[in-house]
């Protein structure tokens, strides 16, 4: 989140978080407030107009915050302000000094630096004189600024403007817009910074994720192209394939695409790579978008690769998800987080093409760019398998993603003399004197074996990857 706003929310000024129902406004605002307490030792006041203190505490507990404890320690005050129109009769002039007094009292009793107001617009439903309310809100924001308090307020998304009551008019410093979109039955949460004075913020939409760990925002393109280029090499797990890549395998921290039609052994080659990495004691994160981990482990055992031992030792971790379970952005956020938590040196995404079912090619491409940016920044080697449909031209299908890859290996099956033969070739490998030959290989119970010499070709036509 701080990355997106270029350093966090403006200190000493109010920020408005707005969005529709269920977009995560309260959670975003609360995580700012509570993180301020936990990480920066800045006490906070939470004034809620919608939920009671208990309801809020329960919601936030599900995100891993112990609200009760913070209150007991005198670092947090939760004040539930209840406004019920039916219980209130209005006659003559009034102001909201009572609200100011409550806030002031709460702030001074714990020395609060941060304030959260959720959702102050509820006042408009409870009180009938909008003229007074507007004047008082203006006074409130001025007051908060004068006190140098960092305030976050939430607002319901309105039809005409950003919020129902046009709160954004008063809070002119920073406005964060949250959105919860459902596209093709898949929901994605997004965040956008609409207005931010005195800060060079990103203007993109950023996907974010809410789960038991709280809320995490994923920068879209903030990483830039500043990742290190490593000279170190890592084995593909198959000697002959290493040989084809100038004898030493992939570059560490590079990206590798293995593409081929069904049954060519993409996953097997990926498993070799994982196996080799685990043998070196490196951690591997394996994203599965088709098979279950059990299926994969069983299949690989049949070609003599025992992945279970690495799982048992905690070196190999599988994450299996149906592509259609979430939107692309959510997948991206989940992958991002998994990588951050597991800290692998190798990741495998198998098959990356299954993500095409939840997004268009350009969406998938932009998502992959972000995954790859992140991997490169962390010097993680990323291997992606791509399933080529039977009849299509290979280069065309993979064109979208192959340009993002440093190394591209193509696997294919050919019928020759009534035998199915498997061919492997390195189509491209950046900054590397790689082999240009097409080699034949077999899947045996000892793993993938590349045969010596160039395969026989019918009609003398040596073709790469068709």
């Amino acid at each position: 989140m701080d990355e997106v706003t270029n350093g966090g929310l403006p200190q000493g000024r109010p920020t408005l978080v707005c969005g529709g129902a269920g977009s995560g406004k309260t959670l975003l605002a609360a995580s700012f407030l509570l993180n301020g307490i936990v990480q920066y030792g800045e006490p906070g006041v939470l004034m809620t107009f919608e939920e009671t203190g208990e309801e809020l505490a329960r919601d936030l507990a599900s995100l891993g915050y112990d609200v009760g404890k913070l209150i007991d320690e005198g670092k947090l005050i939760v004040d539930y302000v209840r406004v019920e129109r039916s219980e209130i009769e209005e006659t003559g002039e009034y102001d909201l000094e009572g609200l100011f007094v409550r806030l002031e009292h709460a702030i001074s009793s714990i020395g609060a630096r941060r304030i959260m107001l959720d959702t102050i617009e509820s006042l408009f439903a409870g009180l009938s004189n909008p003229g007074i309310l507007r004047a008082e809100l203006r006074r409130l924001f001025r007051w908060l600024k004068d006190k140098g308090l960092t305030a976050v307020l939430t607002g319901e998304r309105g039809d005409g403007g950003l919020t129902r009551q046009g709160l954004e008019e008063y809070v002119s410093d920073a406005v964060i817009l949250l959105d919860h979109r459902v596209q093709e039955q898949v929901s994605t949460r997004r965040l956008r910074i609409v207005k931010y004075r005195g800060s060079h913020h990103g203007t993109n939409e950023y996907p974010f994720l809410i789960d038991r760990e709280g809320l995490s925002v994923l920068p879209v393109t903030s990483l830039g192209l500043s990742h290190p280029a490593l000279k170190e090499r890592v084995s593909t797990g198959v000697d002959q394939v290493d040989e084809m890549l100038s004898g030493r395998g992939y570059y560490r921290g590079s990206t590798v695409l293995l593409s081929g039609t069904a049954g060519t052994g993409k996953t097997s080659l990926a498993a070799h790579f994982v196996d080799a990495a685990c043998r070196r004691g490196e951690r591997c994160l394996y994203f599965l978008f088709e098979e279950s981990p059990q299926q994969l482990v069983r299949n690989m055992r049949s070609i003599g690769i025992d992945l279970q031992q690495w799982v048992d030792r905690g070196l190999l971790h599988f994450r299996a998800d149906r592509p259609s379970r979430f939107g692309l952005e959510t997948h991206l956020a989940a992958m991002h987080r998994a990588v951050r938590e597991f800290k692998p040196s190798v990741t495998v995404t198998d098959p990356v093409t299954n993500l095409l079912t939840v997004g268009t090619q350009s969406d998938v491409r932009s998502m992959l760019t972000r995954v790859i940016d992140h991997l490169k920044l962390e010097s993680i080697t990323g291997l992606f398998t791509s399933l080529t449909p039977g009849k299509t031209e290979l280069e065309e299908t993979d064109a979208g993603i192959s340009s993002l890859m440093d190394t591209w290996i193509v696997l294919s099956i050919h019928e020759h003399n009534r035998m199915r033969r498997r061919w492997l070739s390195v189509l491209n490998s950046r900054c590397m004197a790689h082999s240009h030959s097409v080699r034949e290989y077999m899947l045996t119970d000892q793993g993938l074996r590349v045969l010596d010499g160039e395969p026989e070709t019918r009609g003398g036509r040596a073709v790469a990857g068709v």
């Binding site: 004040d79 302000v81 209840r82 406004v83 219980e87 209130i88 009769e89 209005e90 006659t91 003559g92 002039e93 009034y94 102001d95 909201l96 000094e97 009572g98 609200l99 007094v101 409550r102 002031e104 009292h105 006042l123 009180l127």
Partner: protein, 113 residues
């Protein structure tokens, strides 16, 4: 609640609780609105509740912690604590009709007062 300024009126505060009005007026300092509210309240009480009302004044600037208990937001706010249920009237009480309705003193709209 020893800090609460109490304005005692003609009637002894503890007659039969069922027909005594226990009213509390929340103000914040001596602003014109607050002064006006108190004057209006006193006038209305004398006229309609003579002998059976009791007014407490709470200045939130002196007792800010009391704002939370009665869910005070607007100032001035008049709270009818007795008879139950609790009623709230906000504003300077300049519209007598509305105050009477708010206090359930206007027959017709709430029949069983």
């Amino acid at each position: 609640m020893s800090n609460v300024q109490t304005e005692l009126t003609a009637a002894p505060p503890l007659t039969t609780s069922s027909d005594t009005f226990l009213l509390r007026l929340y103000v914040a300092g001596q602003t014109p609105k607050c002064v006006r509210a108190f004057e209006n309240l006193k006038r209305i009480c004398e006229e309609y509740l003579a002998g059976r009302y009791h007014i407490e004044m709470v200045d939130l600037l002196q007792n800010p912690q009391l704002a939370r208990g009665d869910q005070i937001l607007a100032v001035p706010t008049l709270v009818r604590r007795l008879p139950e249920p609790i009623k709230k009237i906000i504003g300077d009480l300049s519209n007598t009709e509305r105050v009477l309705v708010g206090l359930d003193l206007r027959p017709g709209r709430r029949p069983n007062t």
